[in-house]
């Protein structure tokens, strides 16, 4: 197992190098620089700025010094926020985005698993169609529609919840978490329905029923554990997706998270910020996928066996 993890980590290094190099070159190819503005910038100022951010050096030299900085764990100064380093900006935004992703995940699991299980218990009846159609709707409805819709109903009409912010007014985390979570809830509902359907037709469930166990125990104690394996495998990549995909929700609700920095950086040609966030997210996605693989090996005896035999 340790060897498996180590080899996967080593494989990650060239992947990350490719990501860094490609991003570095791509952002430099994009027309317009970080200092271009509607009002012309005097050449003296451009020179001073370029010198300060090492943009006056040849590109290969910039690339090498950037790699050197990265090796020391430094992403460099932000172009958009002159007094801040990219490390500082990521450190400021990450806890908020992670918290949002965590709540969204809770919402997704709670709604998704409930809907999936309900649907699987009576396949091809209204009890199945209703939650599954809702799930389909959830997958189809983008968050830039879902967010404003929820705000309109719960924020403006009913006046139950704040319309924006994060940790400022009581209850302001609910709507963003639901908006971000529902899309994933829909996926989880379909996955758990599939998993449960497969499990419910297994012999051991029939055995459990034959023993005269109440349906509640059969579902919760015997079926659920096996039925949720596909969901568990989905959680790792889903969490990485939630972290890196929270931009729209963060914009709608004015949440000071990492997703907004990411997209704004691209618009502003904030070279170091684009690179920093890309490298950071790439590392995160590699790690979460590794984690998902480890869990998959862990819970699947067949794969575990294969792994030890290949050794």
């Amino acid at each position: 197992m340790l060897r498996f993890i180590l080899s996967r980590l080593l494989q990650a290094i060239p992947v990350l190098l490719v990501v860094i190099t490609a991003t570095f070159l791509l952002v430099r190819c994009a027309p317009g620089g970080p200092f271009s503005a509607e009002k012309a910038v005097p050449p003296e100022v451009v020179r001073a700025l370029e010198a300060q951010y090492r943009l006056d050096q040849p590109i290969w030299q910039q690339y090498l010094s950037y790699l050197g900085d990265l090796a020391r764990g430094e992403f460099g100064p932000s172009f958009r926020y002159p007094g801040r380093t990219v490390n500082e900006l990521i450190a400021g935004g990450l806890p908020i985005t992670a918290e949002l992703a965590f709540y969204a995940m809770l919402v997704a699991i709670l709604i998704g698993v409930c809907a999936g299980v309900i649907a699987a218990l009576r396949p091809n009846t209204p009890q199945d169609y209703l939650p599954m159609s809702a799930a389909m709707l959830g997958i189809c409805m983008p968050s830039f529609l879902m967010g404003p819709l929820l705000v309109l109903v719960f924020g403006i009409w009913l006046e139950w919840l704040p319309v924006s912010g994060w940790g400022e007014l009581a209850g302001d985390k609910i709507l963003p978490a639901i908006t971000l979570g529902t899309g994933y809830a829909a996926y989880i509902a379909r996955l758990s329905r599939g998993g449960m359907l497969e499990v419910m037709s297994q012999d051991y469930i029939r055995t459990a029923r034959a023993k005269g166990l109440p349906e509640r125990v059969v579902v919760l104690k015997h079926a659920l554990r096996g039925g949720l394996i596909p969901v568990v495998a989905f959680l790792g990549p889903a969490f990485a997706g939630l972290l890196s995909g929270s931009f729209v929700v963060e914009t709608i609700f004015q949440i000071p998270g990492l997703g907004r920095f990411y997209v704004q950086a691209a618009f502003n040609r904030d070279y170091t910020m684009i690179l920093g966030t890309t490298v950071f997210f790439a590392t995160l996605i590699v790690l979460f996928n590794l984690l998902a693989d480890i869990i998959a090996v862990w819970i699947n005896p067949k794969m575990r066996h294969q792994l030890s035999r290949s050794r």
């Binding site: 994009a30 027309p31 317009g32 620089g33 271009s36 503005a37 509607e38 009002k39 012309a40 910038v41 005097p42 003296e44 100022v45 020179r47 001073a48 010198a51 300060q52 100064p77 926020y81 002159p82 007094g83 801040r84 900006l89 400021g92 709670l110 709604i111 409930c114 299980v117 309900i118 218990l121 404003p148 705000v151 719960f154 924020g155 403006i156 006046e159 139950w160 919840l161 704040p162 319309v163 924006s164 912010g165 994060w166 400022e168 007014l169 009581a170 209850g171 609910i174 349906e215 509640r216 579902v219 919760l220 914009t251 709608i252 004015q254 000071p256 998270g257 920095f261 618009f267 502003n268």
Partner: protein, 544 residues
């Protein structure tokens, strides 16, 4: 299914519990405590007045710092700031400012003439990369010092007579010089604080952070969370503190204007930075008292690339300008009370009235186009109209595309580009016609006209006129009386409009939603707010 029932019940219950928590709104508690909540557009980049360039930063800095002279928000005429009074020499080139004795920094230190001289020195350090350094070029030798043609700062026309007297010598009589003193590039900075956190010409040192920032304005910086808010609280050391009614101001970044409008509606903001176009009609119909619009010192226009062969003929450019129905655009497309623009300088810029430029006259436009060799648009090449990606610019472009096709029979293709790509294209002359906007730096025609000189960095049209250059660079700066100067400016603007390298479309308006509790706001073309005049009335609430 008791389990499922339990699960769904607990989910609903937890939602309800959390939902019930929404307490008093920002504005309700703010009205009681004297805390103003403002929508402030994009997130501020920095709070160093020698580094920032935007309006959101300006809004915050005017609360934190104060220049020699302020403006009366209703007339925009100069009123005393740190200076109690000043004398201007007969030739208009020498200013002598008398600073008040009781002006204090937020740490209690006295504000002296030396503080102004030092921060103007800092503003002119090329290594700092100050994009607004040119604002100080009105001062004698400031430009030469910035360009390192003069190395001794004592040659620059700034003279500290004593702690409370500052003399300034200008390069030319500059009637708008007092106006400039209220711009953040002229604000004083606290030298000891800046030097504590690094060399004075270092960008992004930590002196601008809450706790470090020392200012001389009515408020001092107490909180700054990126993408969340900037908090300023009343500065007890401010010389006029007893007339400051507000206890604090919270500035919120509101890049998403639909969210900003929702924040206003739910009582989270006292004032928005702008209003979404599709909400204007709703507010006009249902709550006109909340909607504030006022002409703004800016022009929405199109640049024409005069180096493109078929656009090099001024008859073609005039035909394009004369066939746009601006009334229809402001009434049906922009809908925000914008003024149709037939000149480049906005109307009544402190007594300046632009010359009659042209009129909406499709008939005359067709004649001009025919004279240029394209009768009925025959043979006119398909021309590219470039704009930066935005719903609003797109709507205007579509309307104008239709008007040109209908009136002149010419075809225009629309292209949108991401902002930075767009800037790059315009800078390099890779366009036929391109959208542009220009906001004046100060209330004077010069800020709208000096950009069109041959080597003006913002010209970008390839247009050049020796007469125009002479008027703007030689004659107008030397004019002694305001009337004479305005006459020369009018002649320059007439030259510009005759050649038409640009097509003015409309004069911007500032638009905002204002909570009924907010008092003391005066409309003006700079959208300039004097925070110390503002107050909150706790008896007023948002209408249902």
């Amino acid at each position: 299914m008791p389990f499922l029932k339990m699960a769904s019940a607990s989910l609903l219950l937890s939602l309800l519990v959390m939902a019930c928590g929404q307490g008093e709104s920002n504005t309700a508690s703010g009205n009681r405590q004297g805390i103003l909540h403002l929508g402030n557009g994009t997130d501020p980049q920095e709070l160093d007045p020698h580094i920032v360039t935007g309006v959101p930063e300006h809004n915050i800095l005017t609360a934190l710092l104060e220049g020699l002279v302020l403006k009366d928000p209703s007339t925009l005429e100069p009123v005393p700031g740190v200076a109690t009074h000043w004398e201007i020499s007969a030739d208009g080139k020498h200013y002598r400012f008398h600073l008040r004795d009781d002006a204090r920094w937020s740490n209690g230190d006295p504000v002296t003439a030396g503080d102004f001289a030092w921060s103007w020195w800092r503003a002119l350090q090329p290594s700092l990369g100050n994009q607004y350094a040119y604002m100080l070029f009105a001062i004698k030798n400031a430009e030469a010092y910035f360009r390192q043609e003069v190395s001794d700062f004592s040659d620059v026309g700034i003279n500290v007579v004593d702690d409370h007297t500052l003399e300034v010598e200008l390069a030319n009589p500059t009637p708008y010089f007092l106006q400039l003193l209220d711009h953040y590039s002229y604000f004083p900075l606290h030298r000891a604080t800046i030097e504590k956190f690094g060399p004075p010409d270092q960008r992004g040192s930590l002196w601008t952070r809450p706790g470090n920032f020392v200012g001389n304005g009515p408020f001092s910086l107490t909180g700054w969370q990126l993408f969340k808010r900037v908090v300023v609280e009343k500065n007890p050391h401010y010389w006029d503190a007893e007339n400051v009614s507000l206890n604090a101001i919270h500035f919120y970044p509101t890049e998403n204007i639909t969210t900003e409008e929702r924040m206003f509606r739910s009582g989270q903001l006292h004032r928005t930075a702008t209003v979404p176009i599709d909400k204007l009609a709703v507010y006009r119909r249902e709550h006109p008292e909340l909607l504030h619009t006022h002409p703004y010192l800016g022009n929405y226009f199109y640049r024409i690339n005069t180096e493109v062969p078929h656009l090099s003929d001024k008859r073609v450019r005039r035909a394009l300008a004369m066939s746009i129905d601006r009334e229809a655009i402001v009434r049906q497309v922009t809908k925000g009370d914008e003024l149709p623009a037939y000149t480049f300088t906005p109307p009544d810029t402190l007594g300046y009235t632009a010359p009659d430029g042209f009129a909406y006259d499709p008939e005359r436009a067709r004649v001009l186009l025919a004279e240029a060799g394209y009768p009925g648009g025959d043979g006119f090449p398909v021309t590219e109209l470039l704009f930066n990606t935005s719903e609003g610019h797109h709507k205007i472009a579509v309307a104008i595309q239709q008007m040109w096709y209908k009136e002149l029979g010419i075809k225009v293709s629309l292209h949108n580009q991401d902002w930075k790509v767009f800037l790059n294209s315009v800078d390099n002359g890779n366009y036929g016609i391109a959208r542009a906007g220009w906001i004046g730096d100060y209330v004077d025609p010069n800020t709208f006209l000096d950009m069109w000189t041959t080597h003006g960095g913002n010209n970008r049209t390839g247009w050049s006129s020796a007469r125009f250059d002479q008027l703007i660079l030689e004659e107008a700066p030397r004019a002694e009386a305001r009337e004479q100067r305005y006459r020369l400016m009018r002649e320059a603007e007439a030259t510009l409009l005759e050649a038409m390298p640009i097509i003015p479309i409309h004069i911007y308006t500032s638009k905002s939603l204002v909570h009924p509790a907010l008092k003391g706001l005066e409309p003006n073309i700079l959208d300039y707010t004097l925070y110390k005049n503002l107050s909150l009335d706790p008896t007023k609430a948002l209408p249902d």
